[in-house]
Amino acid sequence: MSEVLTREEPRSAVKSNVILDVQDLKIHFPIYGGLFQREVAAVKAVDGVSFQLYEGETLGLVGESGCGKSTTGLAVLRMLPVTSGKIVFEGVDITNYDQKQMRPIRRRIQMVYQDPFGSLDPRMTVADIVGEPLEIHKLHGNRAERRERVMELLEMVGLRHDMIDRYPHQFSGGQRQRIGIARALAVEPRLLICDEPVSALDVSIQAQVVNLFQELQDKLGISSIFVAHDLAVVRHVSNRIAVMYLGTIVEISSRDELYANPKHPYTKALMASIPVPNPIVEAGRAHHIIKGEVPSAQRPPPGCRFHPRCPQAMPICKEKVPELRPEGKGMVACHLFS
């Protein structure tokens, strides 16, 4: 794996100013029970996540189901109540903004959803779907201007002008995902949150949409958070990648560093689990498969949350929570490095 990860492709410049700063974010969902329906426990979906996103950068959030990657994405848009921590967007603390205050912010942060079948209103035409955010945010005043802008957006995402009056059911999954992307881009956001945008698509279509993301990043210099469970897909679109496990970030690093030199045992396990489409490579590859499954976020294991499954667990891992600290070119939360 070593010689292959050396090439750096030309990318839109990542600037040095921070567009999004997430500090010690916690999102706990209360569980009510007992005679008086008191809060008896909480699902700690996100439990102390911090990261910074630079302008023009794409940060990949990877992990298995229940690791809190989607919840983190939704929290940035303030679509979920934040238990504690801080979300600072373009220098403004938006953690406690109410719905009305969030409105102008939501013009700057847009979302692309996973399911292209569930996220488009079946009774609206493409012109309405893509034009709606323009209307809500009072951009491009009259109908004709809006239509013009929708045409422009369709072209940008690779759809034909004559598709503008069609309904979602007339499109395939990949085309619907393009409509979802056009809608998100309509208001010229500065930050795009993509929640598993290609995982519902067939392989031959997945590549089309991944390439579209890369083109748009290059062309628009937009910052994005790309949430996915597929390490191979994330690698194609991200500058930096954060690996999450049970509500925490276990490792965060530049793309090339993470794949060439994964440090956390979980990152290593995740990579070893993904089969490479080449039987010769596969035959020579060691299949270190980790035991067990992700435990419940309601009662996460004490100490390092990964320790019950970790092949390198030490006594300290059961007691002390490892902190995310700099190691080499990235950051890792593991006692092996402290």
């Binding site: 031959s204 279509i205 590549a207 390439n211 690698r235 490479v276 489409p277 299949h287």
Partner: protein, 325 residues
């Protein structure tokens, strides 16, 4: 050479009637040898799952029905059997593992009953013995604490554990053939690897043949001996896994390989997607059904339907433009 365990010949399965009829599986032929793992790869709508259901005569009728071909398993043509005779084979000599373990287990019965049932039914073992056998099977699929878990219901297990239960059920009667339809698609990556590794180990131990249906070319590379690639209801290429990855001949297979992001290649490489959309089975183009998306299309591809032709002894493809003998 001995005869293959399963011979599928010119299998055609249709859904619906009249002009709206859709041919989900179109004149498909392949063999499975005893003990080998054959992968059937394709995207949604390629006909890979309907092929599996057809082998077990489980295509919902109506609207679906097998309109032609033979499925010879161990010398018996399954298409000629009646429902009772088929029942004696299903779960006994051919077992199936489905994608979604939650919907394929009965939520109101304990898993001990569900694993014991095929043993009691097919092997005519009394319930007490079938129950003991169920415990043994759970041990074999590495279920911790097997004895006490026999009394649990499916909702008390995680997705990975449910899939282990499905595998235990499939193995119950020592089938000669197991058909696994996307057995790990609903699972997380680390659990996916555990389950596939387990399946490989157990089929090797018992000598069962395995038909692995998947869309994941990585999984195929790791686990399959031979591969059939399906597109638009037809097999468009078949070869040993080594040959297929070393020299894919059909433009669709090559397109698939170029379009998947993979960990063993430089991250800066652009993916090369296949242009266009997967075909609508109700309106297949004339000639080769891949021709509208194909980069090497010629006049003949728009006119004549290519059937599988030999490139060499073990490698076949259905493309007019690829080399063949």
């Amino acid at each position: 050479m001995s005869k293959p365990l399963l011979q599928v010949r010119n299998l055609t399965t249709k859904f619906g009637n009249g002009p709206g009829a859709v041919t989900a599986v179109n004149n498909v032929s392949f063999d499975v040898d005893a003990g080998e793992t054959l992968a059937i790869v394709g995207e949604s709508g390629s006909g890979k799952s309907v092929t599996a259901l057809s082998i077990l005569q489980l295509v919902p009728d109506p609207p679906g029905r097998i309109t032609g071909g033979e499925i010879v398993f161990d010398g018996i043509d399954l298409t000629k059997l009646n429902e009772d005779e088929m029942r004696a084979i299903r779960g006994n000599r051919i077992a199936m593992i489905f994608q979604e373990p939650m919907t394929s287990l009965n939520p109101s019965l304990t898993i001990g009953l569900q694993i014991g049932e095929p043993i009691n039914l097919h092997k005519r073992l009394p319930w007490q013995k079938a129950y003991d056998k169920a415990k043994e099977l759970l041990d074999r699929v590495r279920m911790p604490d097997a004895r006490s878990r026999l009394a649990n219901h499916p909702h008390q297990f995680s997705g990975g554990m449910r899939q282990r239960i499905m595998i235990a059920m499939a193995l119950a009667c020592q089938p000669k053939l197991i058909i696994a339809d996307e057995p790990t698609t609903a699972l997380d990556v680390t659990v996916q690897a555990q389950i596939l590794e387990l399946l490989k180990e157990l089929t090797r131990e018992t000598g069962s043949a395995l038909i692995l249906i998947t869309h994941d070319l990585g999984v195929v590379a790791r686990y399959a001996d031979r591969v059939c690639v399906m597109y638009g209801g037809k097999i468009i290429e078949t070869a040993s896994a080594l040959d297929l990855y070393a020299k894919p001949l059909h433009p669709y297979t090559r397109g698939l390989m170029a379009s998947i992001p993979r960990l063993d290649q430089p991250a800066g490489l652009r993916l090369v997607p296949i242009k266009g959309q997967p075909p609508n089975l109700a309106q297949l183009p004339p000639g080769c059904s891949f021709n509208p998306r194909c980069g090497e299309v010629a006049e003949r591809c728009r006119r004549d339907v290519p059937e599988l032709m030999k490139a060499d002894d073990k490698h076949m493809h259905a493309c007019w433009m690829a080399p063949h003998v």
